[in-house]
Symmetry: C2
Subunit: 456 residues, 2 copies
Amino acid sequence: MDALKPYLEKNKQRFLDELFELLRIPSVSADEKYAADVKKAAEFVKVELLRAGADKAELCQTKGFPIVYGEKILDPKLPTVLVYGHYDVQPADPLELWNSPPFEPVVKDGNIYARGACDDKGQMYMHVKAFEMMMKNDALPCNVKFIIEGEEEVGSVNLEAFAIENAAKLKSDVVLISDTSMIANDVPSITTGLRGLTYLEVEVTGANRDLHSGVYGGAVANPINILCDMISSLHDKDRKVNIPGFYDDVQEVSKQERDQMAQAPFSLDEYKKHLDIDEVIGEKGYSTLERVSIRPTLDVNGIWGGYIGQGAKTVLPSKAFAKISMRLVPNQSSEKIMKLFEAHFKKIAPAGVKVKVMPHHGGEAAVTPTDSIAYKAAARAMETTFGKTPIPLRTGGSIPIVTMFEKVLGIKSVLFGFGLDSDAIHSPNEKYGLFNYYKGIETLPYFYQYFTEMSK
Amino acid sequence: MDALKPYLEKNKQRFLDELFELLRIPSVSADEKYAADVKKAAEFVKVELLRAGADKAELCQTKGFPIVYGEKILDPKLPTVLVYGHYDVQPADPLELWNSPPFEPVVKDGNIYARGACDDKGQMYMHVKAFEMMMKNDALPCNVKFIIEGEEEVGSVNLEAFAIENAAKLKSDVVLISDTSMIANDVPSITTGLRGLTYLEVEVTGANRDLHSGVYGGAVANPINILCDMISSLHDKDRKVNIPGFYDDVQEVSKQERDQMAQAPFSLDEYKKHLDIDEVIGEKGYSTLERVSIRPTLDVNGIWGGYIGQGAKTVLPSKAFAKISMRLVPNQSSEKIMKLFEAHFKKIAPAGVKVKVMPHHGGEAAVTPTDSIAYKAAARAMETTFGKTPIPLRTGGSIPIVTMFEKVLGIKSVLFGFGLDSDAIHSPNEKYGLFNYYKGIETLPYFYQYFTEMSK
C-alpha cells in the first residue's frame, strides 16, 4: 500500500483530465435527445476499466441504456467486492442558473463544477482510479467486479432484470457504492440508511380545450386551481402527509436512536443561513435532521399548466400537470404507497375535472448494518486517511438498488460516499471537491485491504 | 344602401384574401420576438384604410407599438363614429394543439381558422371593409374615425396617454367596437356589460438554489407546495374569492335583472357537452351565466416551477411562479383589487418563503346603456340583417378601454360584436365564421345610416 500515495501524487492531473473527459459527455438519461451521449459515456467507462487493468469489460445491452460490466478475478477463493455506480446524470436545466456550462467542467476554488461532478461520475470514477492504482502497484488484495449503469437517474428500470439474469456472474461478498455524502470534509460519515421513493406524474383536465378566462372564468373548473387545491390537501396543518394509510407501515425509530442522531454536529442557524431561508418547515414533532432521514415526505418536483411565457394571457387552460415524489422510510412499500396515492388522488378530484396518475418509478428504503465486516472495513479505511472515526448516518436520499441487490443477489451494501450535501447534486452548479475526489481515491484501496484481511 | 349588397357579393373573395394577408402576420404583442411583425400589421392596417377611402391614415408612435389612426370627415356638422379595434393577437401556444398552423389561415367547414381570426383582426377588418363599401358606393352618411391599436392583448398600456394627448382629434359621438360575441348566429345579441381585469404574476422563493429533494425534502419549504397552499386558500368552500375586501365594492345586480338574464336561451347540458365536462364549478348561489357576467372571479392562468421536462427529476426547486387574473364587475377598482391581493398574498406567505407580487395590467368593468341612440341604431341594424331583435347581454370578458374612453373622452361605446363564444379566442384553433365576417360587413353600414338619422 505504501507505493500508492506517490502513484496518486504523480498521476493527479491525469486522473482529473480523464474525469473531465467523462464530464464533458452530456449523458442525461431522462431526455431521449441525449441517447447517443449516454451510450458514449458507457463506452468511455468500459474502455477505462480495461485500461485500468480489468480482465474483461463489456457493455451489456438492456431494454434501455447498457450496463457496463467489468471484472478482475485474482482467485475465486478470495473475497469479491462488487462496485456499483452510474454514468448517467440528471438533466442540467435550468441552464440559465449555471455559472459555467454544465458539460464544460472547470475547477474553481478547489471544486470541480459540472453536471455529474459528484453524482455520480466523480464518485464512480474514483473507483476506477483506485482500481488502477492497486493494479499498477500489485496491491489488489481480492477480486473486484464493476456494475456501472446508465439509468440510475430514471429509476434503474432495467437493473433488476439484469441482476436476476446475471446473478451468478454478479456473485460477490459486498456491494460498494459511492453515491452519497459525508457530513463535512473534517467530519467523515458513512450512510447507514436511505429513504425509498415513489415518483409519479398527475394530470388534471378540465374542459376539452383551452378557454378564454373572461368568457368561461368562474363557471368552469380551472385545472390549475383544482390541482393546487388537491396538492394543498395532501398535507395537513402539521405538515403530515394527508393520504389515508400513508404512515401505516412506517417503522418508528427508537428514542435511543433519535437521541444518538441528535448528537450529530448540526447548526440550524448555519443551515438556514446557507440556504438563505428565515425558517425551516416540516412535519411537527421532528427535528430537521429527523425530517430528512427517518420520516417520509411528499414534495412536488415540478408543476406546469396554462400560459408560462412572457407577458399575460388570459387563458383558462384545459390541463395542468405536476410531478410528485414521496420519500419513504424502512418498511413502507413504494408500490403500496403508489396505489394509496393513486386511489386517494382520484377520490379527492372534484366533479368537473378528470384526473390521471402516471407512475414513474419507485424504490424501497434501506438500512445498512453497522456491525458487518464491510462497514467496519470502510470505517477503518476512513480512520486511516481522515484520522477520524466516521459517524454512521441515516440520510434522506434514495438509492433503490440497495434493497434490490439484497433481494435479488442476497448481498448487503456499504454506502461509502465522499460528497457533501452542499455539492448541489440535481441542481445548477453541481460541484465535487478536488479534496473529496482525491481523498476517495486514496481511501478506497484501504477498504479492499481491510475487507480482505477481516474476511479471512 | 341598395348598392352595397351586390358590391359585397362581388368582392367577397377579395375581402377574405385581404383578411388572410393580415392573419398571416404573427403580430403577438406579448412576445418581443414578434415586434417586427406587430409593426408590419400596423402598416398593413394603415395602407388598407387609405385604400378603402380614408382622407388620412397614420401610424402614431407610442412608448410601445404604434396606434393606427385614420379618418374620413365629410362635414364637421355631421355625427362622428369612432371605430376602435386592435391588430395585435394573443400568443399562439400551445402550438401542438392547433390542427393547422396559427398564422397560416384556412377555411374549413365555413370557418376561418387562424390566431386573430375573431379576436380581433377578423372583427376589426369588417369595419375597414364596411367603410370601403360605403365609400365606393357614396353611402357614408357621417364622419368616421379609426383608432386601431397594437397592445390590446397586453393591457392597452399606452392607449390612455394617447387618448389624453389627442382628445380633440378623437372627438366623436360614439365609440363602435367589434371585439365581443353574440349568443348564436340565429340569436343576435349586443354586449351591454363587461368585466374588469386585474392581472399579476407571483413568485414564491424557498431556498437560494434548487435542492435535492432527498437531501432536503421534508425540512425546507418547497415553493411549489407552498404556492399551491396559497392559491388554494384564495377560494373558500363555496368558491367565493377569499381575499378580505374583495367583494366590498361589488354592485349587486337586482332580482329583476337576474330574472331577465335567466330568460336568455341557455342549455347547461349543451354547455357541458360542448366542453366535455361532467359538472360546472363556480360561486355558490349563482347560475353559470351569472358566474361569467355579473360576478367577479379569480383564475390562475399559468403556473410553473421545478422540473417540467421529460422523465423524472427529484428536485426541490428554489422558486415557483403563477400568473393570476381576477375578473371584476362594475364598481370594483382594478387598482384597489391589485392592492388587496398583494397585501393578502404577502400576509398569507408562511415563514420559510419570500413572496413577490408583480402587477401586469388591469382595467375597469363597464356597463353600456341600452337607451342610447347608438345602442338603438345597433339593435335596428341587426334587426335589418338578422331579422331578429338582438338580446342585450352582459358578458364575462374585459375590454378596459370602454371605461377609459368614457373617462378620458366622455364618449360611450357600443359593443357590436359578431363572434361566438365557441370561436376559441385565446385558445388553439381560434376561428371566425365566414357567415359572421360577411354578416358583420353587411350590418355595419346600417348602423351608420340609423345612427346618423336618429342623431338628427
